[in-house]
Symmetry: C2
Subunit: 686 residues, 2 copies
Amino acid sequence: MIQKYVFGNPFDTEAVVKEIPEEPIGEGGIPHLTMADGNVFSYRMDDGDVIYGLGENVRGINKRGWLYISRCTDDSHHQEDKHSLYAAHNFFIVDGRERFGVFVDTPGRVSFDLGYTDRRMLTVTVEAGGFVLYILEDDSLREMVRQFRKLTGRSYIPPKWAFGYCQSRWSYETADEVREVVRRHRENHVPLDSVCLDIDYMERFKDFTVDEEKFPDFPEFVKEMGEQNIHLVPIIDAGVKVEEGYPVYEEGVKNGYFCRREDGSEFVCGVWPGRVHFPDMLNPDARRWFGDWYRVLLDQGIEGFWNDMNEPAMFYEEGHLEEVLDEVEKFKGTNIGIYEFFDWQKLVESVHNNPGDYEKFYHQTPAGRIRHDKVHNLFGYNMTRAAGEAFERLSPDRRILMYSRSSYIGMHRYGGIWTGDNYSWWSHLLMNLQMLPGLNMCGFLYTGADLGGFGSDTTEDLLLRWLELGIFTPLMRNHSALRSRRQEYYQFGSEDDFRNIIGLRYGLLPYIYSEFMKAALTDDMMFMPLAFVYPEDSEAAGVEDQLMAGESIMIAPVYKQNAAGRYVYLPEEMKLYRMRSVTDMDTEVLPAGHHYVKAALNEVLVFLRPDHIVPMSCGGESVADVEGSKLRLLHFVKNQAVYDLYDDDGYSRNTDLEKSLTGITVDRDGTVKVNGEFAADRVLTI
Amino acid sequence: MIQKYVFGNPFDTEAVVKEIPEEPIGEGGIPHLTMADGNVFSYRMDDGDVIYGLGENVRGINKRGWLYISRCTDDSHHQEDKHSLYAAHNFFIVDGRERFGVFVDTPGRVSFDLGYTDRRMLTVTVEAGGFVLYILEDDSLREMVRQFRKLTGRSYIPPKWAFGYCQSRWSYETADEVREVVRRHRENHVPLDSVCLDIDYMERFKDFTVDEEKFPDFPEFVKEMGEQNIHLVPIIDAGVKVEEGYPVYEEGVKNGYFCRREDGSEFVCGVWPGRVHFPDMLNPDARRWFGDWYRVLLDQGIEGFWNDMNEPAMFYEEGHLEEVLDEVEKFKGTNIGIYEFFDWQKLVESVHNNPGDYEKFYHQTPAGRIRHDKVHNLFGYNMTRAAGEAFERLSPDRRILMYSRSSYIGMHRYGGIWTGDNYSWWSHLLMNLQMLPGLNMCGFLYTGADLGGFGSDTTEDLLLRWLELGIFTPLMRNHSALRSRRQEYYQFGSEDDFRNIIGLRYGLLPYIYSEFMKAALTDDMMFMPLAFVYPEDSEAAGVEDQLMAGESIMIAPVYKQNAAGRYVYLPEEMKLYRMRSVTDMDTEVLPAGHHYVKAALNEVLVFLRPDHIVPMSCGGESVADVEGSKLRLLHFVKNQAVYDLYDDDGYSRNTDLEKSLTGITVDRDGTVKVNGEFAADRVLTI
């Protein structure tokens, strides 16, 4: 059940797609919550209460014990004390004495004090403006999420090739550099499906341009890559360079499609190219116009993009930068003690990513002119919506890959997300895992972290271990920052291990694609906390480093340096597959309970549930290679194992769930039955 | 066995106190290591090789897989990708195919690439100057450490009251604020032995002054606190304020005791008070002079200090600051794109903690004038040595508490260390544990981290869990930074839990003091990796989150938020004491192997080894309270449990190990025998 309460005059975020009647706020107030001042909602927690959700945020699967603030921000330092990352995902569930979900639909800032100030108190504060509060109730956590997802609409579905391995770097600067990356993979039979082009492919960082010196005859290059089953995935930034003669700039100015200052002039701030304007993503006309610009690259053969810097990120705002430079001069010749030094630090740090700068420009929305800070959390969402809606117009038959850095619930209908600029830290490998269920709850199914870590210098073992998680995440991308250690597999010594681990992704592809598609088409989660599947198991509720990955398996990656294995909790008897490659694995049936399980650096632990099946392919070097592969079935039959395998052509927008399913059954005696459109002779091994 | 190899003309760090004959570097080179270029030493590791040591550094007990650089630095952001913290502790042991120790004795920069560049290769590079290389060999890890510790001299011993709980804050600004802190502890019977005075007790941040407005009649206040068994522990900074009429400044200038620029003028940089000079800690005369200044506070009744900012930390160097301010102006009116923005960031960040500034001043050492960067890692060491040597002169009969932020091996003879400006992160609770054995190996026994975390905002559960480790560390201090959330126990709701957990420290005091003193007097470790005690157990070698704490127990604190327990590996059968307070605990005998053990937020897990004893007191609200307490013996008797209890008056510098020991025996039938100077009737409970 979902109840809807409206407070004030909320701006329509368009997060919700389903009409729900509004409930009156009566004497009894809001269910479960105590209301104060019309914008503060609190709840007294029991010791054992667990909180799930909030999508992209730091800390554990259980979000309890910290203060989270929905305020999209370009802050790459994702230590555990951060309150905000790039996204605003205002949905959570309390599970304990009571079981209920809360979605705060508002484009502004919201704080979620989940036992931070007082470890027994949950307090949600909507900091400004009107808002809609949805209260969800259901006996089942998973069903409650399904209800929420039906409320907010079907999740974005990328083309199948986007489930292949992606190698990225800020930046591969020339076509030859990209060729070299591809060659090193193909030559050594390390699978690869795509290469990202970071900002340097552009001409002076101008969106929808390609630097002709670095990438001569780009359409031909795209084709050349395509012939090797490699997709190029260029980045698009939120800011449009201010430059006479640059048509995106000139059209935007002419049509009034850029965000403006209070005085009506175009707002200027500094991003990659220096001075830019922001397209007014909250103006439907501007959104359509900006979306149409993606055609320039689509027409050159590009089939996927990533939208960056769309919190929106600002290196500086012109006016504030001037002020800072003036203030800085005043330090000359003075005695700078501790407090003056703090002032200096605060001053120079205020240049970058300054929330105050969000008060300096306006959007022309269907609801009238609104200052950016009031609708801040919707910017990245609507940039990606611009692209997503354009793709429906420009590529009505074929899905286009799209993932964004910033997001708000609702954006999950138009694109996936990567989880931003993480670091080459072991703690971020764990955070990658811990974030997945919350993201799925909020509709973000196509998602992944920068494997190996974006900032700082990775190590071979960290990259290997991270890939061992990454083979399960829909977006599987190795990406790293300018000036950090290079982290293509061939920078290290263990070539065989990398080939085998990345190869496992291609082996698991039938399962991963099937689970993803079923989750997307039925509004379900792909990655779940154990408690979502074993609600009666109180130990399961405490497990913070394992996930149910689809219906058949539990994953438990190693995320500690130098570890020869790890502890794993099994809520029920399971069959462990210790995988070294698509063809090299050993198995062991383990009873329910706690175990220490060995996992060498080149081994992946997959725990198969009783009466479940994992369909695997025979591997391949690209997703196209895997198409039509015979199926190898991993199974753990107690009575009868059943699996509904989803598959399709991998690109059509219109998919029919029922028609795309193949029923597979394995009986106790080993008999395999296959129904549906796929021939039984595809099953190679059991 | 220790072999000594001398390269070039090393500066005498005085880390080593024992004469060892120099070995010739023959055809065979150095044992175990492959030498290149006279300053690069490498070793090919086997997969299972483990590396212990390097004292204060990030990452695990096993240091393998990262690059560590000995270069003392004031960098409070101790993420796992940092290469250097505040100290230079150049001793490590390789344990695996071969077993050997390496100590690189040099005052300059050394890098330890322990499987970072190539995960199979260990490479030590001494970056400049002469150095002495010591190679240690022994079948026993623990014995190898003892040899190293005999080489470098007996560890510093603080007064016994310094094992009590310390409440600190940057800053308690007035005497009344301190009184309030003490009152809140005494009133609610939460134990407390000391309160730190951070920089604001001083008059304009001038060392050896007390602000008379904030702390009127300081000697009287010290006495008033003393009457409540509270010791005040003021901070001393490395920089001496440049101020006419300030005697420390004037004497230093007059006698030429400050570090100088190349042109002979006093070097100026900015720290707390603004412009300061650095006393030339490497000039024995200056060191003696600076040490004598501690008398000003000793004479007012102070018995303990902490030495801060002695890397030495610099907010800015005057000349470089001018340059930066000039450069900053050039950004005015330009288009700042990505690369210009990086230049801006690099420029403004270069003001603080700039290694280049260490090339701008000189020391007058017994070996002549030396530029600071060549001897950089010895500064904090010699500041603390100045104090330690002064205390021996000024307080020949009573120990004085001293701990430092920066250190080098050798300093462990003069003071302890706290592990610097950590954060209120759960990961730093684990790092606290993981650092302890490496610190002990390098001689630093009196040590601890800022419990609850210094920077950022703590939570009640983090503080409780951190205290549950802190009750075992010799320095047990709750400290936090200006502008962070206050974290005295009474800022939170669980008063009883805090009283009980902190109370446990006082219950365990007889054991902790005894183990500390025995370790100090026999050059042993107090905190050991499991492999040091169970060398044949290959699983034990992989345990990264448990420690042997003294001879009787293994500790396994909970370091994850919302955890209801944790996994523990037992190398042998042990008796678990799940402690809630000095008098409230349950016990369970657990077999060797892996276990999941419950530990509620108010519970401490202590694992007692077979045939071992933990002597506890009946508790108290100060260390003085515990004196003469009856002993409660925890024991786990399989055949006969034996314990040598060390105790003394807690302040005398001269201690006699043999005379201070009481032999305690518990037989299988429960018979207790007590030998030595303590009366058998002190034993209250078994």
